[in-house]
Amino acid sequence: MDNISISAASGMRARMESLELLANNLANVETSGYKADKEFYSLYTSLDATSDPGTGEIATLPVIENHWTDAAQGELRNTTNPFDFAIDGDGLFSVQTARGIRYTRNGSFKILPSGALAASDGSPVRALGGGQIVLQPNIPVDVLPDGTVRQGLQTVGQMEVVSFDRNAINKEGSSFYMAAPNAKSKPASGAIMQGKLEQSNVGTAESAVRLVAIMRQFEMLQKAAGIGNDLNKQAIEQVARVVS
């Protein structure tokens, strides 16, 4: 293939991946604590492609090199449920799953039959420094902004809320994040709000604009690939025509 077609095809593939990210964001527009994924486009330069023997120019192709998760605060919605928690500001709740410690912004917690506070999949919420937060039935629970859980003014435990560098955590699904093996956590500055849930931070209007942009760019690239195709066709049919 010639350069136009290769570049255009690479661009089309990148737009398809953009659409996949956007589709996942929009599917999770109602998922509590969900953070939108966005893409970085970058220019791909392979070692083989570094120098064109004719001009010495470097061939570059647009690809989605990586994505970034927009950590912007989602809106806090009042739920009146005393076991719904939202973090206003920076931080992640720590949860002890069977696979190890995971982190989440989805504070829709429940009580296990044992009385322990747990995430929606039943994994217990970690207390500061490890352990669980076990509640007594029938006594109202109140939680202070620093994550201290109290029942009838008696402190039962403190939720572990930590913060990571943006690149140190990855999404695992089921609203959980996984930290890189050597990632260092630091204490978070966000405030815990009881009776509230953080909405997903996917902007529907912004997503609609991006959807149109992706489609139009795809269309342009398809035209470009078509032009490349036409050029090739003419080259084959006309330039190389053997006059009889």
Binding site: N81, S120, P137, Q222
Partner: protein, 263 residues
């Protein structure tokens, strides 16, 4: 590309379920003792296109990688046990629990179910029964000649007989609670049954130190459905459904154009 189609489809089906849930809440906005349910969603698995931390050169690694999510799923629709409003009635057997407890009801099958709906009545033999005729536990029987029935905050049921001044005690209503009320299973007719997630019932007296709440006679607890909130949820669910359907259309269009490349 197919990923985008399926992600959007998962979003559409999640919103459909959300609307089913909202419509059931709205349908029960006037049901005594009904507790609203709220759908909860989670993101699905992520597919690693470029694994985070993989080498991008001899000495550099990709800092964040490229992960594509595969849509959403409904995690649960949990029951929100906040207190409903109280409406005054003139029926002496209408009760509300000001607190976290549940009434115990003996179902026709003999098993115990739990309810917040306190619109009780008397059956032909004078037993206190719920709106479906199921007996209240513990069984409390009032004689046909009972006058001025009084139910105290701690659940003691007393009455006077015609021509007598001395009040007679018929029994005491006890209440139940659960470690995790959100884990109860709804069985219809405003009844809940315990599950492994809710734990076993903890029985106690009303107004006691267990915090089960006190009883108020002559009131019923209305549902805790907030019609305004439900309408807002309905609008956002509908818009989210629409946005996801637009993605399906966009993915389809792009697919078509890709197919048209070799026209």
């Amino acid at each position: 590309m197919i990923r985008a189609l399926y992600s959007a489809a998962s979003g559409m089906s999640a919103q459909q379920l959300n609307i089913d849930n909202i419509s059931n809440n709205l349908a029960n906005a006037n049901t005594t003792g009904y507790k609203t349910r709220r759908a909860q969603f989670q993101d699905l698995l992520y597919q690693n296109i470029i694994a985070p931390g993989s080498a991008s050169g001899q000495s550099t690694v990709v800092p964040a990688g490229l992960q594509l999510g595969l849509g959403t799923r409904t995690a649960s629709n949990e029951i929100i046990f906040s207190q409903g409003n109280f409406a005054s009635t003139s029926n002496p057997l209408d009760l509300v629990i000001e607190g976290r407890g549940f009434f115990q009801i003996k179902q026709s099958s003999g098993t115990t179910a739990y309810t917040r709906a306190g619109n009780f009545q008397l059956d032909a033999t004078g037993n206190i029964v719920d709106a479906n005729g199921n007996q209240l536990i513990p069984q409390i029987t009032l004689p046909p000649t009972a006058q001025s029935i009084h139910i105290a905050g701690d659940g003691t049921v007393s009455y006077t007989l015609t021509g007598q001044i001395q009040a007679q005690t018929a029994g005491q209503i006890t209440l139940a609670n659960f470690q995790n009320p959100a884990g109860l299973s709804s069985v219809g007719s405003s009844l809940y049954v315990p599950t492994d997630a809710s734990g076993d019932a903890i029985i106690g007296t009303a107004g006691g130190t267990e915090g089960l709440g006190t009883l108020q006679q002559g009131y019923i607890e209305q549902s805790n459905v907030s019609v305004v909130d439900e309408f807002i949820n309905l609008i956002t669910a509908q818009r989210a459904y629409e946005a996801n359907s637009k993605v399906v259309k966009a993915a389809d269009d792009m697919y078509q154009q890709a197919n048209n490349l070799t026209k």
